[in-house]
Point group: D2
């Protein structure tokens, strides 16, 4: 089975391969009457766009999104919104290596095992290029939750973490790493550039905080807000771990340390801490929703690795082509998009059941 | 919206509250002809059953499962299997504290914010008691994947991790902690007992390994095997983090360190490492599927915490009643059950699309 | 695949066989705070209950429904509502005939072809007994749409139709046929009794009208209100046809005859006709929603029919046991229940998307 | 909520409005390795294409389908197949009448009641133009069920039915009505042309027969093959009734008349009749699957009808523009497509559960 749809009330379906004519998303279930045109979505795609610094892949894609349906006179109509992004820079190259053998760490072998063959050009459907569709869909989702602010940033690259004492959201847009700590951004230049020059790659951790989420979104037990976020984030290419709030660190706390005591505030209940990351029992508490996402290092490296070919024989392979030395960096707009899509869906779900 | 169903082809729906007459699960989509009776499911419930040592809650529940439908002459018929477990030991006590105020760290406030009120007796639907239904459903799922072996264990309690050099699967059943390291189990006795005596609690990490999963289960992109596992695990009570394979540690590796090189083996392809945890591009690779799950410390502690009451006024509350000092311990059979349910579902999904 | 769940936001899952210990339904997604106890649901089950006249099966089932979850202090909590009905009168009889051969017109052969075997006792899962679960679930759904009035009745038995000039809703409860035409009810006594005495059976048509449905429920294009009603009704045992509004008769009209002209009314728009049955483009118009459902004659008859046994050899079979001579009669509460379930679901869906 | 996706394992999502730049469908879940290119799908679109005779709308649309994803080297890859059809002949006209008032019998009023406004150009999303997307998706579905033959035809126009004694499948392609009875086709020329010249319209009945469906596809109880077919057909524009097998006529038969006796045949079991239309208990029996679909007369007529405008005031409206005098005719390829999509989905579902 192929599952390319995500969401329950606000749903999106993505399609397209790295080297096909286009990729896209169909967003269904969007409330009517929201003001929208391409310019509302494009900035998020621009943030994710490759080729903007030497720290990301040099593939040049304008990533211009086109709205093909579901909008009339600048408003969403409530019917499906078809978003299309043309592929422009599918470099014509020799894929015979990749076609014949499996790149270690890639989805090549798994795809062949499942489907019997695969579109090997640029990774086909398993390419991180698919995430552009998510970002476009996320641009629509944001319109559904205008009171929610979503902020993601890279908190760690190659094991080097930011210092929260230096945290400045205004810094995020000032460096090519979505880094809120100016000093860390400096250090990362060398880390990522070294990896790039060595034909190697490094991993990263992305943190995402959504403020303005009211208490009450989510659901027990199999549509928990945190479970849906976990699926959303783990479904992004190269992601291997997801934490809500304190995550694995919570497993090292005592009950007292982990408590989030409450007290009356000027605008309703307030909390003295947010170990829970804004979600309890699968339902939002009104605190910021905090998610942390681990990206593995890009699998595409220049060092040859032992592998097998389609005939099952031993061979070696390294991945030519244009790749991100740290795929986690461009994961930031993708994580934000998935956060928006999950929250918008749960807003509608809550309204559906509870009015 | 309330979502109490999980899965796509093999689906289960759970119902019931901690202090209602019973809890249960309806398992739908099970293949016909599988040999089953209550004795096949009961051992998994017995493993999760409370009150078996001083390290878990003292609530006494026999957790006897009854099959009410979907089985004929000892075989699954392909129609829905209704599983029911009666609640026996709902201790009649005074819930007036919990009814009036919100226990910090619990779902109380979030439930009230969503639904306007809640069944406060023993946590109602948000009680970990619900996990018995999952374990029962998991017992059915295991029959669907007879060639898969699922092994979970606690790898860390209160920050004290096992030593993999001591790893002995036979030890897991020898101590009350599902601990594969006899020395760690010794240490944990004191950690957990200290927490219990202090009315405190500690967190834990559970690891789960599924061997015998063939390459090819899973799906790109929104039904990825790892994304479904993430949702399954994050949906368990008290879970705050999920990792596949190396998880967050992978974010600290280089591409070379994280590669899983392949070579020809006697029974098909073999891998020299398993950083990926058996999943690439959302599809199983044939390697063991490895998941790691972080459980926060039980929120129910005897130390009073500042909180508010339903009128929004400041108050203090501590949680009376019988509670697990380390809820992660009894999470082991639950994690195994969710692993079984996800894998069984993906086996059927793969067969549906690819034959 | 087995699919025993219906609905999108308000969903229900049924389980149970004719001769198992019990049957039931789990209703999920119900809004919180609705006043409910067993007495709210029981009257609908009583209306469907067999053995109340000589015109229905003589199986004696009290059909007492029990609420096992999802209700606290007389209110729905928003969590799943588990409804259970015990089977009481599973007459112990000799099923060897039915076990070995396929009853013509029954699901026996199709079940065996699908699953390899079947629970042949009383039809197992394919028994009309399952409809009790739907009626119970429908009792919950009605609470979600308190402003909607649902009225179903038999409009035709054995080809003998009511005269709309005699239509009197008060008559429906006055005869064992749910017949709104007192004269037709008289005639049907003989038709159904003749069939019963001859060991034969007759078909029926049930009409259902829902008033008070506001304009705007439903959805283009694959969640159309009429498409969901069609699935709901066609999924009832023995149903072979569904019409919305004029149905097949509309295919014989001209565009002018079929138009439903509008004009201003005292309380908003009014229509001069309702050929559309209250639905246009898949969305309710505010007019009464009208559905017509064709029930085939009960397949269980005493006249032996040529058939084959499980070995594929020719044999003859007639159906012993207690059966409805006209299964459409007891279809009336079932059709009402499915109408309620579909409308309640669409009310929530509409609220979810459009606020 | 907007629901523009149909199916469970083989799913398709359609998007696009009558007067937008394009329409399309994304088909997900298709098995890998099926031979496909545009030429496989185009003939079905050509059969549905408007403007081919004076008996259909004169809008000229080449309806050229483009495959944008999911196909590599002429084979389906198992990933989503994006199909796009550009709108070419959106005649620029004055829509001010339709924008301001509701066309009786159209979805105008219902859309406004739901969404607050609508894309009124050519009916927007409620236009029958959407059915081109279904036909394209159906072309993919047919590849999944190569052993099934699907044949639909018009059996009745304006109340004038074919004579089954004249039934000749070869005739269907010989006339502009998909009519298998040459004599009826002659008569229909006058019926439809008279309606056209009078600015009126007529209804039609379409019959569809699928042969080669093995016994065992379908599911009890809420995924019954007949229930899914009912939803599929009732969801087509202008459809008001659906019958399986004898349909409403079965309600007038006795149990003896309606029986489908079985006997051993040379290739397995055979039936002496097919009143059931090839489905019993929601599962296919191996007999031809027979569905009958009622299309109302086109709502767009030239005779002015009383209606109201958006301000709720009385007015009159007739529908200018290019319309089918009998929308049921072009329903034939659409009914075939929906039959293919439902059957293909159930083939995969059956394989998923039962192997």
């Amino acid at each position: 089975m192929s599952v390319n749809t995500f969401g329950r009330l606000l749903r999106f379906t993505t399609w397209g391969e790295s080297h096909g004519p286009a990729i896209g998303a169909v967003v269904d279930g969007c409330p009517p009457g929201l003001t929208i045109d391409e310019s509302v979505i494009q900035p998020f795609l621009d943030a994710r766009r490759p080729g903007q610094s030497k720290f990301t892949t040099q593939r040049q894609e304008p990533d211009q999104v086109r709205i093909l349906s579901g909008v009339f006179e600048g408003k969403t109509t409530g019917t499906p919104i078809s978003l299309m992004i043309e592929n422009v820079d599918q470099r014509s190259k020799d894929y015979s290596d990749v076609a014949k053998a499996y790149r270690p760490g890639h989805a090549d072998y798994a795809y062949d095992a499942k489907y019997g063959f695969r579109d090997y050009r640029g990774g086909g459907r398993s390419s991180a290029r698919e995430t552009a569709s998510r970002v476009a869909a996320g641009g629509v989702a944001r319109l559904v939750i205008p009171d929610v602010t979503i902020l993601a940033y890279v908190s760690e690259i190659g094991g080097d973490a930011i210092d929260m004492a230096n945290f400045d959201p205004a810094e995020i847009a000032n460096n090519p790493f979505f880094c809120p700590d100016a000093q860390a951004a400096k250090r990362w230049e060398k880390i990522v550039d070294d990896a790039r020059l060595a034909g190697s790659s490094v991993g990263a951790v992305v943190e995402c905080v959504a403020t303005g989420v009211p208490a009450g979104w989510g659901a027990p037990l199999y549509g928990k807000l945190d479970a849906d976020l976990a699926a959303a984030m783990m479904g992004i290419n190269a992601v291997k771990g997801v934490e809500i709030g304190d995550g694995f660190a919570a497993a090292r706390l005592t009950g007292e340390q982990n408590a989030d005591p409450m007290h009356p505030g000027s605008n309703g209940p307030e909390f003295s801490a947010n170990h829970a990351g804004g979600i309890a029992g699968g339902i939002s508490t009104g605190q910021p929703v905090v998610v942390r996402v681990a990206f593995k290092p890009t699998s595409s490296i220049l060092t040859p690795q032992p592998t097998i070919n389609r005939a099952g024989e031993a061979t070696e392979l390294f991945t030519k082509g244009r790749h991100d030395p740290c795929v986690g960096i461009r994961g930031v707009p993708v994580v934000e998009a998935m956060m928006a899509l999950v929250l918008a869906d749960h807003k509608l779900l809550h309204r559906g059941q509870c009015g």
